[in-house]
């Protein structure tokens, strides 16, 4: 898409949606967005008089329903963000886009996380969610148009007041200026603007006229997150609220045989102990006046579990089974060129490689939690959810309500990385099940860190087997690739869309659609069913496919005695514009040091495209205390038009650090006889400061193309880049993660 098309109104949004303006009781302008049919039929029902909930009411969070923009009489501009904020910066970036088109005074902008409602659904995915690095890609146009239309109405109101034409007026920093020295603040014009028709089409700004977008803008939530005042879901405190913990089965899906709660109930402050159904198996819920009481009570619970009727997975046995499966072709993901091309290549010119990857937990800093109050005919929910629509429906189902009867507040979340996007809403279902029994009382369900580490929903284990035949030119002439691992989407509503020919696209993405031009190329997959719940982990399939591809390509480059950047550029398809641009920029930014590092240091290169964003990185690595020390990293990224370069820089730096989880010696979840062997961050060890790069420079490829995301794309490149550097230092190949030995 060219610059001209990017900065032009996309008619698709105006066809599907319409805006409405109104005033509030307190004055000001509200700009609300409505979808036309069929979603328009699903707008939240307001409770009828006399039917409102009877339970204790929390302090009301006031947001006008369905509004995106609210110009308050005091000049503050409140913008609703249609997605969860959990670190990725969308709570700043989307308001930037809207405020820019609106010519709003940025210092007066307040961003709020919107509750669950149809109008806040992702314009492309059709549900309210954060995932697939799609927030900016999908809402870029939407937020710009909202801003432009709001501005047009404010200018029209001013023009009418001054008896001039809108074209004679201009706006800047929340003030409209007329041709004869007139001026009026947005807040003064808001009531008049609220009575004007909403323009159907508006001209969006030219790139050169943007004042906020493409500039380094600091986050709106920093101060609150630095002084302790930011409230996360776990910090919620409601009158008469109780805290619930659940004793989960020691093996996934097991059921309670019997339990003795006498010791638990004897603790002062314990309100209820009862068995509950879970998405998998059953559990025992403990409800108390506070967390520590609930924790003590759960520790004293004596429960016996029936673990005989469920499969008890074991990591060692699973790997043995996966290795066997990898020796046979699976369901075909892609078959290009001549499948027999390998046969004509001599064994001396072939590489056979076996890779193994463990289960990985997300472990976001804020433990999982959800608060629910059930009032009989309606319910109220507070959750940091990546999947508001899905979770709202699940809670409604448990409580026997319609989704519209469940008011769903989106709470600021302390990280997520995919863990708060569960198709089965298992945490929300637990919370709702408990709240149903305590009608009228708000109940905060907390998963302790141990519940989280042992609770499943991991990045799946995978085994890859690859056979590569090299041509006389040192480039891969034939490539056979088998991937073995559980399907993430099997059995979920996402399966019809994401499983093709028996292949879950989340298992093969990054390999089957590689941008390397390999003529004879076969990728297939096996998806064994295993009794371990699995889930997307920041960058999903690319976590393992990029590792395999980028370490093998590096190995090929070394065999060909070629420069790793030059070799990649030679092998990449001419269409791989983003990766080519990233590699060229990486070369430019590292040429001064890449080939002249200290004797005990080495540089590793990797590049990968995911979620339509290209990333290339170079890491300088040394070995310290038998561990890789990442002395510096340089990252080049092409994500189209860069909305907030400062956030992009942070996401690249943070994303590569998150990716280092994969090479940490404790970066694995393992099972023995059905039980998870790690309990907390002492056994499952993510990267700390010394494991992260000391310096990480980020360079953005200048672009006016359609923007893509930045949350996930940095994650896949770092582990292969580190390992490629280590290989140069030690001469060894590393095909099993985590790296327990160097």
């Amino acid at each position: 898409m060219s610059s001209a098309t990017l900065f032009k109104t996309d008619p698709s949004l105006t066809r599907r949606t319409f805006l409405r303006v109104s005033t509030t009781a307190a004055g000001g302008l509200l700009v609300s967005l409505y979808f036309d049919l069929p979603l328009g039929a699903q707008q939240p029902e307001k409770p009828k008089a006399g039917q409102e909930g009877q339970g204790p009411k929390p302090e009301p969070k006031v947001y006008p329903p369905e509004a995106f923009v609210h110009i308050r009489p005091d000049g503050k501009i409140v913008i609703q963000v249609n997605r969860l904020e959990f670190g990725q910066g969308v709570q700043t970036a989307l308001p930037m886009l809207l405020a820019d088109e609106m010519d709003a005074d940025w210092s007066q902008v307040i961003a709020e996380l919107a509750p669950a409602a149809d109008v806040y659904r992702d314009p492309l995915f059709g549900i309210q969610m954060v995932g697939g690095s799609g927030s900016i890609a999908h809402s870029f146009q939407q937020y710009r148009e909202l801003g432009a239309k709001t501005r047009a109405m404010l200018i029209a109101a001013a023009a009418a007041q001054w008896n001039v034409t809108p074209a004679q007026c201009r706006a800047e920093s929340s003030i409209v200026y007329g041709p004869n020295g007139q001026s009026a603040k947005y807040a003064e014009l808001a009531d008049a603007a609220a009575h004007l028709p909403v323009p159907e089409n508006v001209q969006l700004k030219k790139e050169s006229d943007l004042r906020l977008a493409n500039k380094n803008v600091r986050r709106l939530d920093s101060r609150a997150k630095c002084n302790g005042s930011q409230k996360f879901g776990l910090d919620l405190d409601l009158p008469e609220m109780k805290v619930a913990l659940v004793a989960h089965p020691p093996v996934f899906g097991a059921k309670v045989k019997n339990f003795d709660a006498n010791a638990a109930r004897a603790i002062s402050g314990v309100q209820e102990v009862f068995e509950i159904p879970l998405v998998r198996g059953t559990g025992v819920a403990v409800v108390a006046d506070r967390f520590w009481t609930a924790k003590q009570a759960r520790d004293r619970l004596r429960a016996e579990w029936d673990t005989t009727s469920v499969e008890r997975p074991d990591t060692t046995q699973l790997f043995a089974k996966y290795r066997e499966l990898a020796r046979t072709p699976g369901n075909v993901a892609i078959a290009r060129g001549d499948a027999k091309a390998m046969d004509s290549i001599s064994p001396a010119n072939r590489i056979l490689a076996d890779y193994e990857f463990p289960y990985l937990a997300h472990t976001p800093m804020e433990p999982l939690n959800t608060t629910v109050r059930f009032d009989g005919d309606r319910a109220e929910v507070w959750a940091g959810s990546q999947f508001q629509t899905v979770d709202q429906m699940a809670i409604a189902e448990v409580l026997g309500l319609k989704p519209q009867q469940v008011t769903f507040h989106t709470e600021m979340a302390g990280g997520g990385f995919g863990r708060r996007a569960t198709p089965d809403s298992h945490v929300q279902r637990e919370a709702a099940t408990i709240a149903k029994r305590l009608r009228g009382t708000p109940v905060k369900l907390i998963w302790t860190r141990e519940d989280d580490v042992q609770g499943g929903y991991y990045r799946p284990m995978y085994v890859h087997r690859i056979e590569i035949g090299m041509g006389a030119d040192g480039m891969p002439a034939a490539w056979r690739h088998v991937i073995v691992g559980q399907s993430i989407v099997a059995g979920t509503p996402f399966a019809p869309m994401m499983v093709k020919n028996g292949v879950d696209s989340t298992a093969v993405e990054g390999t089957a659609d590689t941008h390397y031009a390999i003529a004879n190329f076969q990728v297939s997959a096996h998806h064994p069913a295993v009794n371990v719940p699995v889930l997307w982990w920041r960058s999903v399939g690319h976590t393992h496919t990029a590792f395999v591809m980028e370490t093998l390509i590096d190995e090929l480059a070394r065999r060909a005695k070629a420069d790793p950047i030059a070799y990649r550029l030679k092998l990449l398809s001419p269409d791989a514009k983003k990766l080519r641009g990233c590699l060229a920029l990486l070369e430019e930014k590292t040429v001064s040091w890449r080939n002249s590092v200290d004797r005990n240091h080495a540089v590793g290169i990797a590049c990968h495209e995911s979620f339509e964003t290209g990333v290339a990185c170079a890491v300088e690595v040394s070995i310290e205390d038998k561990r890789p020390r990442i002395d510096r990293a340089t990252i080049a990224v092409d994500l189209g038009f860069a909305v907030n370069p400062l956030t992009i820089e942070s996401q690249m730096q943070g994303g590569v650090t998150f990716g280092i989880t994969q090479v940490m010696p404790g970066g694995a979840i393992t099972l023995k006889d059905g039980r998870v062997e790690q309990r907390n961050w002492d056994g499952y060890t993510p990267p700390y400061m010394k494991d992260a790069p000391v310096v990480a420079e980020v360079h953005i490829v200048p672009s006016s193309e359609k923007p893509s995301g930045c949350g996930e794309p940095p994650v896949p490149v770092v582990a292969p880049a580190i390992v490629n550097a280590l290989s140069r230092l030690t001469g060894k190949r590393y095909r099993t993660l985590p790296l327990t030995e160097i």
Partner: protein
């Protein structure tokens, strides 16, 4: 249940709780000071770091009964602390935070470091903040912000 007298951010407070209750939960649930965060409960992440008698301490493993008369200082007091304020401002100017959940603990560790070592080296920073986990991976911006704050303080 017992009643404990605590000095939190210079104010006398009373908490009636089980003696084994970690200071973290006394702060969060009894005193409603939720700036101090629960991350792991085993002193593995540092999200719950407070200053106890001037020493950075993991409040998730200190029973409220063992606090005694040592003063407790939390993130809520940092805006009024001469070093705390500079550190917060450096965090904002370097755009450190992402999800922000670990940052109370990071800032408490950083302030304790700067109180003892006004010009910290990279190694000092790694030693003092080495046990503060950040899943978003803001470590290198934290390093930068500490250096910025140190420059402003000298």
């Amino acid at each position: 249940m017992e009643t404990f007298k605590l000095t939190v951010n210079g104010q006398e407070k009373e908490v009636t709780a089980d003696p084994g209750t970690p200071l973290l939960w006394a702060l969060r649930e009894d005193l409603k000071m939720t700036g101090t965060k629960y991350g792991c409960g085993i002193a593995a992440c540092g999200a719950c770091t407070v200053h106890l008698g001037g020493v950075p301490t993991r409040s998730c493993v200190v029973p409220v009964s063992l606090v005694g008369n040592r003063p407790i200082v939390t993130i809520e007091a940092m805006a009024d602390d001469p070093i705390g304020r500079v550190v917060q401002d450096a965090w904002i100017s370097e755009d450190v935070v992402q999800c922000g959940y670990c940052q109370s603990g990071q800032i408490m560790s950083a302030v304790a470091l700067l109180k003892n070592a006004p010009k910290p080296t990279d190694k000092d920073i790694e030693e003092s903040l080495g046990g503060n986990l950040c899943r978003c991976g803001t470590y290198l911006r934290i390093r930068q912000a500490i250096k910025t704050a140190a420059r402003q303080l000298t």
